[in-house]
């Protein structure tokens, strides 16, 4: 069953006098529980595709459906609500809130969702334990390593049981060992919690971990293969 259905997505950016075609008609269907990488060189359109799937950006044409929600029928407020409840994000630069502790960063999304405090605390501690950060609840981002910060970001992304987690080059700022550990953890979350992960990456290790690899080049899908398990 598809959790994401993108049909003929086109997106052009106006950069002054130059128009850049970031996506030139991309159609993509992602199944629930998938662990997929969107790979390609810089400028191939993978981040744009991720932003469009996450409702952060809108396509010039084409349609996006995530968990049966049609983006073209939703306003900004509804899209924000959908992101809050259905989409988790992991960014290359971690993007944690610097004044909140690890636990509070994870709790924050649930706070916005209106989850009661006791439940928030319990779920946040559980997920931090699952991503290997037990005992580091009270540390602020500045007191955590890059890998640990990215684990907090993953915990924040999956704590509210989203339909899909979109990770934009999650290992780009990590050394290979830390990156591998993070990927192991995300795959574990994928298997244990059936969370759908979509990565944008040009990191070979991420591509190796992905069960499905979609190659983008110049705004078009040039390869789409599911690996044998």
């Amino acid at each position: 069953m598809s959790i994401v259905e993108c049909v003929d997505i086109k997106k052009t950016y106006d950069q002054g006098k130059v128009e850049v075609e970031a996506l030139r008609g991309v159609s993509l269907s992602i199944d629930t529980g998938g662990f997929m990488a969107l790979a390609g060189p810089s400028g191939s359109g993978k981040t744009t595709m991720l932003n469009i799937m996450g409702g952060l950006d809108s396509p010039d044409s084409g349609s996006v459906v995530v968990d049966e929600h049609h983006y073209d029928q939703m306003n900004q407020s509804e899209l924000a609500s959908l992101r809050l409840h259905k989409v988790g994000f992991v960014f290359q630069a971690y993007n944690l809130i610097p004044v909140l502790s690890a636990l509070e960063n994870v709790e924050f999304v649930m706070l916005l969702q209106g989850v009661p405090q006791a439940e928030r605390r319990e779920r946040a501690e559980t997920i931090l334990n699952d991503v290997g950060l037990k005992g580091m609840y009270d540390r602020r981002p500045a007191e955590l390593s890059g890998g640990q910060q990215q684990r907090v970001a993953v915990a924040r992304a999956i704590v509210s049981n989203p339909a899909i987690v979109l990770a934009d080059e999650p290992t780009a700022n990590l050394d290979s060992k830390t990156g591998q550990g993070l990927l192991e953890m995300m795959r574990e979350m994928n298997e244990k919690r059936s969370v759908t992960f979509v990565f944008s990456t040009h990191d070979q290790m991420v591509m190796d971990y992905a069960r499905r690899l979609v190659q983008l080049r110049d705004g078009l899908i040039v390869d789409d293969r599911v690996k044998e398990t």
């Binding site: 996450g54 609500s81 992101r83 993007n95 999304v109 706070l111």
Partner: protein, 407 residues
């Protein structure tokens, strides 16, 4: 957690937060202090005016206020006395006076003064003079040739206690009347102008000098409660024949003070607004800086699903905390300053000439009014939050993609 987040955010840049808090503290302090200072000033202007022979109500012969000539004296004061005894409330004090313009002279100097003939015992209960004599003694009932003059007049006339002072004025026959008095007392008043203007002799001495017989220039009444003035004045007007007498309250008698009182609240609110405008620029500037430093963060919050209104609320929470802290410190500082100065007052002697021109006392005792403090705080709080809406709205307008790409 929203409050906690706001609290931590404002302390991300302690120096900036401290600077803006100092601005709020100084603003609130100056609003409260200047409000109390002006209240004290106006209160003393009213009190001085009332104590300096004005009283709460005066009764004159009709036309006296337009032309305070000796002919406009009340020839039958008993009529007025009887009305006063019947109509003034218990606890009220009143006295009769003769008041004419005169020329005072001694061997060296001469100058215009106001000759006031008083009943010493009654006058002491009505005006400042009973407690104002600092050298010599106050007038006794039989001080036929004694005169009490102000310190400033003594200095101006280069005279002293025990010396003679000759007063000249026009008597009821329109002839020049003069009499030599001996200085028995020297008084000090709130304002130097009072010391130079008024000289006091006994009522009988003034009446004899001016051939007034039992004639009186004015009755002056002081009530136990200033707020009863209008009611008592109306009663007196109703009881006295309007063809012969006129009754005035202190507002009629001190029109400048009355006008200042009417404008006072407006002055204060304009002052509050001016202070706030200066403070408001600081608040907007600081909040804008804080917002632009955190563009990526606002992008993240929107990506996580925060709605624009929630972001506005977050930024306003930070302003709220800054304002509340600044207001609390400003209030404490303002109240402490006022409390510290309430005993000794603020000495304006160095500016005595200028202050007197405006009718201001030499020493101002600040008076705090709950209304002024409340309005000052409301101005800072409400306008502070209102001006913070602009940076908050800016933060809410960032699109996630642009904001997250911001470096």
């Amino acid at each position: 957690m929203h409050l906690q987040l706001g609290w931590r955010n404002i302390w991300r840049n302690p120096r900036r937060t401290t600077v803006i808090m100092i601005a709020v503290v100084i603003g609130v302090w100056s609003m409260i202090f200047m409000g109390a200072f002006h209240r004290g000033m106006i209160n003393q202007m009213v009190q001085n005016g009332i104590a300096t022979l004005t009283g709460h109500i005066q009764v004159h012969f009709k036309g006296y206020r337009d032309d305070p000539a000796i002919e406009k004296s009340m020839a039958e004061p008993k009529v007025v006395q009887a009305v006063l005894e019947k109509h003034v409330p218990p606890g009220a004090r009143w006295t009769a006076r003769v008041r004419v313009s005169a020329v005072a002279s001694n061997a060296r100097h001469s100058g215009g003064v106001t000759l006031v003939g008083i009943d010493p015992a009654r006058e002491a209960q009505v005006s400042f003079i009973g407690e104002a004599v600092t050298q010599g003694h106050y007038l006794g009932p039989d001080d036929e040739y004694g005169i009490v003059v102000g310190e400033a007049l003594v200095e101006k006339f280069e005279t002293k206690l025990g010396r003679k002072l000759v007063l000249m004025s026009q008597d009821t026959d329109r002839e020049l009347a003069s009499r030599a008095f001996r200085i028995v007392g020297i008084f000090r008043a709130e304002m130097e102008a009072t010391e130079k203007q008024f000289v006091f002799v006994t009522l009988t001495a003034a009446q004899r000098m001016l051939k007034l017989e039992k004639g009186i220039s004015e009755f002056c009444i002081v009530l136990p409660d200033r707020h009863e003035v209008d009611e008592v004045a109306d009663n007196l007007r109703a009881a006295l024949p309007p063809s012969k007498y006129e009754v005035h309250n202190w507002r009629d008698l001190l029109p400048l003070v009355d006008a200042y009182l009417s404008l006072f609240d407006t002055f204060i609110y304009i002052w509050f607004l001016v202070v706030f405008i200066a403070m408001g620029f600081g608040i907007v500037n600081t909040t804008l800086m804080a917002v632009f430093e955190r563009i990526r963060e606002f992008g993240l919050l929107k990506a996580l699903g925060m709605k624009p209104w929630w972001i506005i609320r977050g930024v306003l929470t930070e302003s709220f905390l800054l304002l509340v802290m600044g207001m609390a410190a400003g209030n404490i500082l303002g109240l402490v300053t006022i409390f510290a100065l309430s005993g000794s007052g603020i000495d304006l002697s160095a500016f005595a000439a200028g202050a007197e021109w405006a009718g201001i006392s030499r020493v101002i005792y600040p008076v705090i009014h709950a209304k002024d403090v409340t309005i000052a705080n409301l101005v800072v709080f409400i306008l502070g939050l209102l001006v913070s809406i602009y940076p908050a709205a800016k933060a809410a307008r960032f699109t996630p993609v642009e904001a997250l790409a911001h470096t």
